[in-house]
């Protein structure tokens, strides 16, 4: 099991009056590709932050890849995330002051456990596999197209071969052609690395790419804000 949630509660205030998430039980199996959808403000991003270990749950059990995140301190969760979880956002996936290569390399810096010897070659291979030429990789990020930037973001999040990839509406700002290209590249690599995918999107036309689609409202008994 990659994600195993039992009686998870998350409230913004310490007294627990404003419960945003209350999930009795929810699982994602290893290698599974899950599409999560729901209205804005429903707590999707918060759930992703809990599963990646950025936030800590107020109550309940949260197990990711066999590790109890709810029992870890902040430093341990940071280390866990750096080594095991890849993250792709809708926008601002890359540091604008670094080039493509440096962005991917920085991700490896934080996941020291995952950094293999000869990683430079591996970064170049992965970027090349994502149709990014050497000259594109040396360019400042702002000089790349949105589609190219999203492909660099995939490389950045998958270079460390994470067990879980979290994608928070990564296709929202892409046109249809780029969106299809993005999904194709992403799924190829996910399948190749046997990575579990938790994908958040409003776009239900993407449903065929996933093993299952879940509405957050269906698993969450907390209050929508």
């Amino acid at each position: 099991m990659t994600v195993n949630i039992e009686n998870l509660r998350y409230a913004y205030d310490k007294k627990g009056n404003e419960t945003l998430l209350d999930i009795p039980r929810w699982n994602i199996a290893k290698g599974e590709k899950v599409l999560l959808h729901g209205p804005s403000g429903g707590g999707k991003s918060t759930l992703l932050n809990l599963i990646s270990g950025i936030l800590r749950s107020s109550e309940g059990k949260l197990e990711v890849m066999g590790e109890r995140l709810d029992k870890m301190n902040e430093r341990e969760r940071d280390r866990f995330r750096a080594n095991n979880v890849g993250y792709v956002f809708q926008s601002f996936n890359l540091f604008p002051f670094l080039n493509a290569y440096e962005n991917v390399d920085l991700s490896l810096y934080f996941s020291q456990d995952a950094k293999p010897k000869g990683s430079k070659q591996e970064i170049e291979n992965l970027l090349s596999e994502l149709n990014l030429s050497k000259s594109d990789c040396a360019k400042p990020i702002r000089k790349l197209s949105i589609g190219q930037q999203q492909r660099v973001a995939i490389a950045r999040s998958l270079i460390k071969k994470p067990g879980l990839l979290i994608a928070d509406e990564p296709t929202s700002s892409l046109d249809e052609e780029n969106r299809n290209q993005f999904m194709s590249v992403l799924l190829d690599l996910i399948n190749e690395q046997d990575t579990t995918l938790l994908f958040v999107s409003h776009d239900l036309s993407l449903r065929p790419h996933f093993n299952r689609a879940e509405a957050l409202a269906g698993i969450n008994q907390g209050k929508t804000i």
Partner: protein
């Protein structure tokens, strides 16, 4: 290395505001280092001007004025000391040596000082260092002149050259002693004191050029060739420096000179007078230091404000850092490193500008203000001061760093 690389590239991407902040810091470091350097150098140079002398004697005036005109060649004497008084006092058994000083003439803005060979033997500066000749020898002929190192260097004179002295101490004079030119017999080694800016001639030489003069203008008088020893009898000196056989008698001799019955005289202890004079400058020194600290403080606040303002636009960046596994402490350190890069660059540029500035203005400072400033600005004091600047930067940068830390912890 990762911190440095990231911080550097991040700063480059925000170069507009970073350059302005860096400039403000550079100016403040230039000012703070410059004030500190000139202050310590001026103090050192000031206290090193004369050493080994027990008393300085001149016509009754303020001790600061006597010190200024006799040692620093600044200002003028209120009156002269008669040769009889000089002779009486220096004949005292307690006096070991005496250096007469006769001022009033100049050469292209540099003061001319009449004295005796005793000057080259007994005058000392710094840590009791005696005068040394870089070239030539002391004056032996009536119209021999010994140049201070700066005079020779700035005017391009060498041994054997002939020069004409001017009456009065103005930079431009229409009353020249051009009928009695002097020949350069020696050039002194640099001392970093007003000696470097002085031309030294014999007391008889001073008398000789004034034989055909009455106050303010020339009248007919004997020609050089017809001068006789009686014509050159010294009538007065401007001041004189005394070295005593025993330091124990200093106050006694000082009191006796101050109560001298033949004419009103003032004897001062050079060390005490130097300290008193420095005390007067001390207030200005304190004000300058305060201003430079305030300038630094405002520049540091500017740095903190720039970094703090950037936090809002870096919200997404912080979120991304967190997503790839960076801890809040990493972000705290990253902002600190950015601040330290700005501080370090400012220290480098500020120091370089100061070094360059001092190199260019060194000569002018010594020529116009008698301020002998070394170009090397790195001393224990300046290193200490720069360390304080770095510590202050870290302290001030803690505000945006803590902001980034908190922001990193509350990512949603």
């Amino acid at each position: 290395m990762v911190f440095l690389g990231l911080a550097f590239k991040s700063l480059i991407s925000r170069r507009g505001s970073v350059v302005l902040t860096c400039l403000a810091m550079t100016v403040s470091i230039f000012v703070i280092l410059g004030v500190e350097h000139i202050r310590t150098q001026a103090k050192e140079s000031f206290y090193n001007t004369v050493s080994g002398a027990d008393l300085i004697v001149g016509a009754r005036t303020g001790s600061a004025n006597l010190l200024l005109y006799s040692v620093f060649r600044i200002g003028s004497a209120t009156n002269n000391v008669s040769w009889e008084s000089y002779s009486d006092i220096t004949a005292d058994d307690r006096v070991k040596w005496a250096i007469p000083i006769s001022l009033g003439d100049s050469h292209k803005g540099y003061r001319v000082m009449g004295t005796t060979l005793s000057y080259f033997e007994h005058y000392s500066y710094g840590k009791k260092r005696n005068l040394k000749f870089a070239n030539g020898k002391p004056f032996h002929d009536l119209f021999d002149v010994v140049l201070g190192s700066q005079v020779a260097k700035n005017l391009g004179y060498g041994i054997g050259d002939q020069i004409t002295l001017a009456h009065g101490i103005g930079k431009t004079s229409f009353s020249m002693h051009d009928d009695k030119p002097f020949r350069i017999s020696g050039i002194l080694a640099p001392t970093g004191t007003p000696v470097d800016q002085t031309l030294h001639v014999s007391l008889q030489g001073i008398e000789a050029i004034h034989l055909d003069w009455q106050p303010g203008s020339r009248k007919s008088g004997p020609e050089v060739n017809s001068l006789v020893q009686e014509d050159l009898a010294i009538k007065s000196v401007t001041a004189f420096i005394l070295g005593l056989k025993s330091r124990m008698t200093t106050f006694e001799v000082q009191r006796e000179i101050n109560e001298f019955s033949q004419e009103p005289l003032l004897a001062i202890l050079p060390g005490v007078a130097l300290a008193e004079l420095w005390e007067m400058i001390n207030i200005l020194e304190g004000v300058l230091q305060l201003i430079s600290y305030l300038i630094l403080f405002s520049a540091l606040l500017g740095l903190a404000a720039m970094l703090l303002a950037s936090m809002r636009e870096r919200e997404q960046e912080i979120k991304l850092f967190r997503a790839i596994g960076a801890s809040p402490s990493f972000l705290f350190v990253l902002i600190q490193v950015e601040a330290l890069i700005i501080c370090g660059s400012s220290i480098l540029i500020g120091s370089a500008c100061l070094l360059l500035g001092l190199g260019v203005t060194k000569e002018k400072l010594s020529a116009n203000f008698g301020l002998y400033v070394e170009a090397n600005i790195f001393s224990t004091n300046s290193v200490l001061l720069l360390s304080l600047v770095v510590i202050a930067t870290v302290a001030v940068a803690s505000i945006p760093s803590l902001g980034a830390y908190k922001q990193a912890r509350s990512v949603t």
